[in-house]
Amino acid sequence: MKRSFSILPGFRLASGITLFYLSLLVLIPLCALVWKTTELSLGELFATLTNSRVLASFRVSILTALAAAFINLFLGFVIAWVLVRYPMPMKRLFDAVIDLPFALPTAVAGIVLAALYAPDGWIGSFFTELGIRIAYTPLGIVVALMFIGLPFVVRTVEPVLQDLDSQLEEAAQSLGASPWTIFRRVLFPPLVPALLTGFALAFARGLGEYGSVIFIAGNMPMVSEIVPLLIITKLEQYDYAGATAIGLMMLVVAFIMLLVINMLQAWTRKRTGKL
């Protein structure tokens, strides 16, 4: 590893610890996943991934994660907007509680959401009267992923909204633009990269989420079975090849999402002119 000269000490020690730790904990185990997949023939790999139950679980995971991230785009934007721009009673409390989904163990979120949205639960009974079932259907998965994904949108939009240049806004106003025009043409465009980043982060997290989903999902094969659960089911049936093949597919998707998110973040920095 080449590096440019610096008088600071500790490069060898720090890089030694970093590379050893990452190789042992991240790189080698991930290679095991790729390696195990190569034990399958291409035909077997194809057959595993195009199995109708596997395809259905991918459809459920992708569609619910997309729906939840999309709804969070609006909810998260409203919350970030209000937190940044309006005075509000108990703002500290509301601001702190946004991060609850990061701090609350997913299993706890899972059981409490299942209880709230069950047909006889506090929120579920209200929807039952409208003839809508939430828990134990794909809608329940969307609710769980909304809970998990909300802070991603709020926390990526908030700092950009805070740094918006108020001079542009005042100039637009003094030129006679209506509030709606100011929002649409002055305030909204610089927020687009941050909104997309928040959307992508929430979507990526939703695709892999397990703990908060399985209690509320009902886990019906073909209908409300998510990909991570199918991997666990395959492992429990000692179908290591099947679990590995699906796992590799998810790893590829995670890599793509990571690249997309990195690009969106670079775009956000460029738009806001920050490092």
Binding site: S4, L251, L275
Partner: protein, 287 residues
């Protein structure tokens, strides 16, 4: 933020109609209350729904105690290791230029974008009965999968980025002038670290440690794959919640869950305090 006078806010003055502000504020309060505060309250209400005695009985149950002890043990191993790693990685990435820096940063971030179930799966593939080294470790009488070491490994994996991610941008922003000055004036490496670097990064470090700890104690998916769910042996608190819930022992499940919800509340409070301290020390530095 209060110091800026924003055009839209001025339009909200009497005469122009205040409805957008009230509608949006109301909407935000409803969203936060229904989606975040209500679930948190529901955990506590469900936990106490059948009285104190049943609550106490559930959390003083032998298996709950074993689960608490295991969860604390896992956090006690995982958090220090990831703290040392985080400091080393941040020192390397924020203080030196070298080829492959971007790739290394991406590799550190990777566990965040991988499903926790995959995190469990990869350790099964390496150390499981069918895995690369699984049978060797089992023969030595030191099984990894369906045992405590596997739980620790999977938890380490999912919490790798927490401390490093907090420190890298912070140290990049702070720059290295003070450290270079210390070295140029003849300070030893460790003196520089303890006297200059650590005081400068302490709030960021604490922030990372708090989040790392919360995830380490609360991890479910990754641990679920490698644990084997043996009660009293490989059952962490979140797994214990699942077992109780699946046995339709809801009150006990929510009682144990309330302990984890307490941890989450504590995490949020500490996190807010650290953020506040960080902002204050930043203010003092710029004055």
């Amino acid at each position: 933020m209060q110091t800026q006078t924003l055009a839209l806010d001025r339009l909200d003055q009497p005469g122009a109609g205040q409805w957008p502000r009230y509608v949006l504020t109301g909407l935000a309060i409803i969203i936060i209350s229904v989606f975040l505060l209500l679930p948190l309250a529901a955990v506590l209400i469900e936990a106490f729904s059948e009285g104190w005695d049943l609550y106490l009985q559930a959390i003083t149950d032998r298996y709950t105690w074993e689960a608490i002890k295991l969860t604390l043990l896992v956090a006690a191993v995982v958090v220090p290791l990831n703290t040392v790693f985080g400091i080393a990685a941040a020192w390397m990435i924020a203080r030196f230029q070298f080829t492959g820096r971007g790739a290394l940063t991406t590799l550190i971030d990777l566990p965040f974008s991988i499903s926790p179930v995959i995190a469990g799966l990869i350790f099964v593939l390496v150390f499981g009965a069918q895995g690369w080294f699984g049978s060797w470790f089992a023969e030595q009488g030191f099984p990894i999968i369906f045992a405590v070491p596997g739980i620790i490994l999977a938890t380490l994996f999912v919490t790798v980025p927490f401390v490093a991610r907090e420190l890298i941008p912070l140290m990049q922003e702070q720059g290295s002038e003070e450290e270079e000055a210390a070295i140029a004036l003849g300070a030893g490496s460790w003196t520089m670290f303890w006297k200059i670097t650590l005081p400068k990064i302490k709030w960021g470090l604490l922030y990372g440690i708090i989040l790392c700890n919360a995830r380490a104690m609360g991890e479910f998916g990754a641990v679920s794959v490698v644990s084997g769910h043996i009660r009293g042996k490989t059952n962490t608190l979140p797994l214990h919640v699942e077992i109780l819930y699946n046995e339709y022992n809801f009150t006990a499940a929510f009682a144990v869950a309330s302990l984890l919800a307490g941890l989450a509340i504590l995490t949020l409070v500490l996190k807010s305090l650290v953020e506040w301290q960080q902002a204050r020390s930043l203010e003092r530095a710029t004055q």
